[in-house]
């Protein structure tokens, strides 16, 4: 495996074709293969079940053609024993197999595909190279239907009673992406039961798709048939008005749900992890990543169906939980690397070494490498040129180290493949040879040359020379760059004393780091203090009390109640915050900060709220439960109205928690007062994941669910001690009315819009007032500003289990900073030449990392190396070229351009 350089020759020569599972079997791959192009490590492997040699004892074509000698037929499965302190399970999910929905004819009709297959069809690395095409005839479809809830919310044709949470959103996404790929205006219809776009910014995306003409049809489709004589599909469904409709589509996508693989269930049994009826891990709402076995943690779809951001959060959360008890062992098994003293080259004239790689036959088979090497010798200041079969192999590295020393090289060019994968390796070699690692440049004569011009060796050879000339021209001007270590303050500041803030603080304290917790009110607990039960039935008050007790007895945590932040200075590893409690001021030094500032319940001014005693919000309703108010027992009719202040113009987002809260409360009323009639007025019931069970149970217990549209809201009027609710019944299509003793409004969750905090820590806030993370999918708890993290409802409305997971995730991300003694800054960063700076502030305005500040005394801009990411935006903006991007300065780039044009 060490020898494989992933050149791909073996797969090219392998005669055996096998179904490509990664591309959902839509195309073939070879018996020697990489599963997909982003595989880590990028090494080819033999599929023993299909390899001709393993089956018949003959072939070995791959071995014959592998120049690196990397094929090893004798490789054996080995058993490795690892001693670990804890274990994280992240086995993922399996896409539901829709074969058993016989009326959808998935197995019989090629143009009925699963969403995963469609995902591959849309992908650039997929079977049709990203062209929108249907499998039967590879023609571009003009009309596509999506069926939601295939293998989800279904206890008849499968046992998946839960909602898979992600399919609504991915179906909407697929319509949008498919339209981008389509040459005609693609006709898209989504057949759904409830549209569940409850994630951050998802509802906006849904509304946009609607506006763009994607059709959303509320119907569970009955059947799909082949349209005789064509490859098209006839779809039968019952529309909103009860009419049976027929419509023809070129293609049907089944939005298949997420389920747990049998092997995972088997493994869980062996590990004695308790699973619920749907085979997700059993955990309570307050320990979302724990399993029934102490020391074993779980994350991702294994704990319940979920999307990428939530999976990433849980992954970090699991990492935090799994290491809490292992904190004392941190760094006990790490080793330091010995590196030789760096040579000072400032007084040396440029001595460039060029290493030209054949990459087996990858480059050498097209580009005439000896000619390129010969050409390199003629370039200015090149004193040494060498041609290698594989420049990246370990023995060449050792030799390169020797050559650099022996020939006194002070700059190195490797003409081979991409710096993306190999720069680090060669830089390591430079360091071992006592050279600064930035005195290095790569010319990519493989990906950019031999691979794409395989049919034209002459032109490819000329291009290789051009690329080498450019690289040498730049290298000649390179200078050593320094990185310096800044010490960091190993403590954290957590802002907000709700469940999220407390969880994050406790996690960090358990990991051994001091924490300052800032709470603006006089008590800890936040919104959780008003909540009655979490969705799995646990009492919230008890949990909060335990949490507060644990926090208060934790020595490493300093609680600042009645306190606010009045100013913040510094950057990652070295923040200084001014905190005041109204009486005294204090400056706190901290290395990281976690935002857990929460959100609040929206207080509406509609539906007689505040004007009639019968009308309450959810938090007020929860108080009635907690005090066991007689009103609950006496009530004959209880009603709930959903989306009060959510999914409207003012708050164009879904508040995520209210649907579940309503069904929980409805069931609780039923529990205490079985005779009460309960009505729920909703737009889409968004009881995602296993919360769907509550919805099903509520219906079974006789709770009446009545849908209303955004433009046909129920009308509430006072009627003595009761209120009268008039509404349009969509099925009877007439206006009805009910009386209610209690009307609970499922009101929105709204942001505190704390602009001051956003400014102090230089973090952005979106249009809805939620703090904006660095990347919505991949960095859901990080801010773009390093060292500042985010969790809980300050990020977006979310239930308590997700808040806790995100808080643990934020702690986990914060740990990546706190666990270091120093942070390394510098290298490829900008530096502003004060002599040239006119102080026009343009660079400060364009810096995406807020790394540049203005020195008022000197009237010039200055870069903070710790914040600079070396993007070069400032260098491109400055009219005077005052910012110098180290390693990519203008002189170097101009030299490179001149090199390109010199041919």
């Amino acid at each position: 495996m060490d020898k494989c350089i992933a050149c791909g020759t073996c797969a090219e020569k392998c005669p055996k074709k096998v179904d490509d599972f990664y591309n959902a079997r839509l195309i073939k791959r070879k018996a020697i293969y990489v599963p997909y192009s982003q595989t880590v490590p990028l090494k080819y492997a033999i599929d023993k079940d299909n390899c001709i040699y393993f089956k018949n004892g003959k072939c070995r074509a791959c071995e014959k053609f592998c120049e690196a000698g990397a094929i090893n037929f004798d490789d054996q499965e080995t058993e490795i024993t690892l001693n670990v302190g804890s274990l994280i399970m992240a086995p993922g999910f399996k896409s539901f197999d829709p074969s058993r929905y016989d009326t959808y004819s998935y197995t019989a009709l090629p143009n009925v595909v699963t969403s995963l297959e469609f995902e591959r069809i849309l992908s650039a690395t997929g079977p049709f190279m990203g062209h929108l095409a249907r499998p039967s005839d590879e023609k571009e479809p003009e009309k596509i239907a999506w069926f939601q809830c295939v293998g989800s919310r279904d206890m008849n044709r499968c046992d998946n009673g839960y909602c898979s949470s992600v399919c609504c959103m991915y179906a909407v996404k697929q319509t949008v992406v498919a339209r981008e790929h389509s040459k005609v205006l693609l006709d898209c219809s989504i057949f759904f039961m409830d549209m569940r776009t409850h994630g951050k910014d998802f509802d906006r995306y849904y509304e946009n798709a609607k506006k763009e003409g994607v059709k959303f049809i509320r119907s569970r489709v009955h059947s799909v048939e082949a349209l005789p004589g064509t490859d098209d599909l006839l779809v039968r469904y019952v529309d909103d008005n009860g009419h049976l409709e027929k419509e023809t589509f070129n293609m049907v996508v089944l939005s298949t749900g997420l389920e747990i693989d049998e092997n995972v269930i088997e493994l869980s049994k062996r590990l004695r992890i308790d699973l619920d009826q749907y085979h997700f891990t059993q955990s309570d709402s307050f320990h979302p990543v724990a399993t029934s076995v102490p020391g074993i943690y779980a994350c991702g779809a294994f704990t319940g169906p979920k999307d990428i951001p939530q999976s990433v959060m849980e992954a970090s959360a699991a990492a935090c939980a799994a290491t809490e008890r292992l904190a004392p062992a941190r760094n006990t098994e790490t080793r330091a690397v010995d590196t030789p003293q760096e040579r000072d080259i400032t007084r040396e004239s440029s001595r460039i070494g060029v290493f030209v790689c054949n990459c087996g036959i990858n480059i050498g088979g097209v580009v005439r490498v000896p000619e390129v090497a010969e050409f390199a010798r003629t370039l200015p200041n090149v004193v040494y040129v060498e041609e290698n079969l594989f420049t990246c192999s370990q023995d060449t590295q050792d030799k390169m180290t020797e050559v650099i020393r022996e020939k006194g090289l002070n700059r190195v060019v490797v003409a081979a493949c991409t710096p993306r994968t190999h720069e680090g390796l060669f830089q390591e070699t430079l360091i071992n040879a006592g050279l600064n690692k930035y005195l290095f440049e790569m010319a990519n004569i493989r990906n950019h040359d031999s691979w794409v011009h395989a049919d034209d060796p002459d032109a490819a050879t000329e291009k290789a020379k051009d690329l080498v000339r450019m690289a040498v021209a730049k290298t000649d001007l390179l200078s050593p760059l320094q990185q310096t270590d800044l010490s960091i303050t190993q403590s954290a500041l957590v802002v907000g004393g709700g469940v999220s803030g407390m969880t994050a603080a406790l996690s960090l304290a358990h990991q051994g780091y001091p924490v300052h917790l800032i709470e603006k009110s006089d008590s800890l607990g936040g919104n959780a203090l008003t909540l009655y039960r979490a969705h799995k039935g646990e009492e919230v008050a008890t949990f909060v009390k335990e949490l507060v007790n644990e926090l208060e007895s934790e020595d490493l945590i300093t609680i600042h109640e009645n306190s606010t932040i009045t100013g913040v200075d510094g950057f990652i590893g070295n923040f200084k915050s001014q905190v005041t409690n109204g009486v005294s001021k204090e400056e706190i030094a901290h290395g990281v900060a976690i935002f857990a500032t929460g959100a609040k319940e929206y207080k509406p001014d509609e539906y007689l709220y505040g004007k009639h005693r019968a009308v309450v919000t959810h938090s007020e309703m929860d108080q009635l439960f907690q005090t066991n108010a007689p009103r609950l027992i006496e009530a004959r009719n209880v009603a709930f109205i959903q989306c009060v202040g959510s999914r409207n113009e003012e708050h164009p987002y879904c508040s995520k928690v209210c649907c579940t809260h309503t069904v929980e409360s409805a069931l609780e009323v039923k529990r205490r007062n079985p005779d009460a009639d309960i009505y729920v007025f909703y737009r889409d019931m968004r009881t995602y994941g296993t919360r769907e069970d509550l919805y099903r149970k509520a219906r079974a217990e006789g709770v009446l669910f009545v849908r209303y549209s955004k433009n046909g809201k129920p009308v509430v009027s006072a009627d003595g001690d009761e209120v009268k609710i008039e509404f349009r019944d969509p099925i009877l299509n007439r206006t009805l009315a009910v009386q209610a003793d209690i009307l609970c409004l499922a009101t929105a969750i709204v942001s505190h819009r704390d602009h001051a905090m956003a400014q102090f820590f230089k973090v952005p806030m979106d249009a809805d007032g939620w703090f904006l993370e660095a990347h919505q999918k991949l960095r859901p708890v990080d801010f773009a500003n390093d060292g500042v993290f985010l969790c809980g409802m300050a990020h977006y409305p979310k239930p308590i289990d997700e808040s806790i997971a995100q808080a643990q995730a934020a702690a986990s991300r914060a740990l990546t900073v706190l666990a270091m003694d120093t942070i390394r800054v510098g290298g490829i960063v900008c530096s502003i030449d004060a002599e040239l700076c006119s102080g026009c502030l343009a660079c400060i305005n364009v810096c995406p990392y807020i790394a540049i500040s203005f020195n008022d005394d000197k009237q010039v801009a200055e870069v903070n190396e710790a914040l600079c990411k070396g993007c070069g935006a400032c260098a491109a903006t400055c009219p005077s070229e005052a910012p110098i991007l180290m390693g990519f300065n203008n002189k170097e780039l101009y030299a490179q351009i001149k090199g390109a044009l010199a041919a």
Binding site: E835, L836, S838, N845, V846, P879, E881
Partner: protein, 274 residues
């Protein structure tokens, strides 16, 4: 006017006042000071124009807190706005006496030296770009002719840097036009059209269309037209009117206040001229 300036100088509202004074029958830019208050009587209004704000910028470089009074025609005011936005002058330290002189709805004719039409010879009219043309007339020439005509103008350039030196909004300590990699130092004539294009690019969000560059150009290159195009693009693309918009110029702000899609790269359709 003169009394107001005197009063400002006396009560310390300003330390100096920049205006014009007639010297040997020529109206010249002049710095009036507290110490020689009687000179203020000679402060005059005339068709003469100069980028007084440029002098103000230099003064501020030397003495950051100096309070400057200034006679400001419309172009001067626009230039001041730009200089405030680019952090070269502090609006708190500048007081102006305003002169409305540019043509407007209220006043059809401007009254500065520049608005007199240039005399343009027949040859230039035939092969170059007539300085008196409107932008749309220049753009009406077909592509090849446009290039030929502009290149005729640019090739006259003697790289005297007059356009830059007079420009009220050219404040950079280091000028790209003197960067060897962009415009080679030494050879005359300069690299064209690179010299003029580099300057045009740097004028985006800065040029306030005062026309002083063209007035200063010894070779009569129609620079104002060139920069009018720059301003037009900035206006069309970013809805930004340089000199009167109060927000940061479009190239100094990051983010999505502007949504642009890259133009599609399509193979050119071969047009048959027959």
């Amino acid at each position: 006017m003169n009394n107001k300036v005197k009063a400002w100088l006396e009560d310390g509202t300003i330390d100096v006042f920049l205006g014009y004074k007639e010297v040997d029958h020529h109206p010249l830019p002049y710095c009036f000071t507290k110490e020689r208050l009687d000179e203020v009587d000679d402060l005059l209004l005339s068709p003469a124009r100069y980028s007084l704000e440029k002098i103000a910028t230099h003064m501020t470089d030397e003495e950051p807190d100096i309070k400057i009074g200034m006679l400001a025609r419309d172009c001067n005011s626009r230039a001041l706005n730009v200089l405030y936005l680019w952090n070269q002058l502090n609006p708190d330290n500048v007081r102006t006496v305003n002169v409305n002189c540019c043509p407007s709805r209220l006043k059809e004719h401007g009254d500065c030296s520049y608005l007199e039409p240039e005399t343009v010879g027949a040859y230039k009219r035939r092969v170059g770009v007539d300085n008196n043309l409107a932008l749309k007339d220049v753009e009406a020439y077909d592509e090849t002719e446009r290039l030929d005509r502009w290149m005729y103008e640019f090739q006259k350039c003697i790289k005297c840097y007059g356009c830059r030196n007079i420009c009220p909004v050219c404040f950079c300590k280091e000028c790209s036009l003197e960067h060897d990699e962009l415009v080679r130092t030494g050879p005359l004539l300069p690299d064209v059209p690179v010299f003029h294009m580099v300057r045009a690019v740097h004028m985006a969000g800065r040029c306030i269309d005062c026309g002083l560059c063209e007035a200063a150009c010894p070779m009569d290159i129609p620079l104002r037209l060139l920069y009018q195009k720059v301003n037009q693009i900035v206006m069309d693309l970013f809805d930004y009117k340089t000199g009167t918009s109060v927000e940061q110029p479009p190239f100094s702000i990051l983010g999505d206040t502007v949504t642009l899609e890259p133009k599609p790269i399509e193979p050119l359709k071969v047009i048959n001229n027959e």
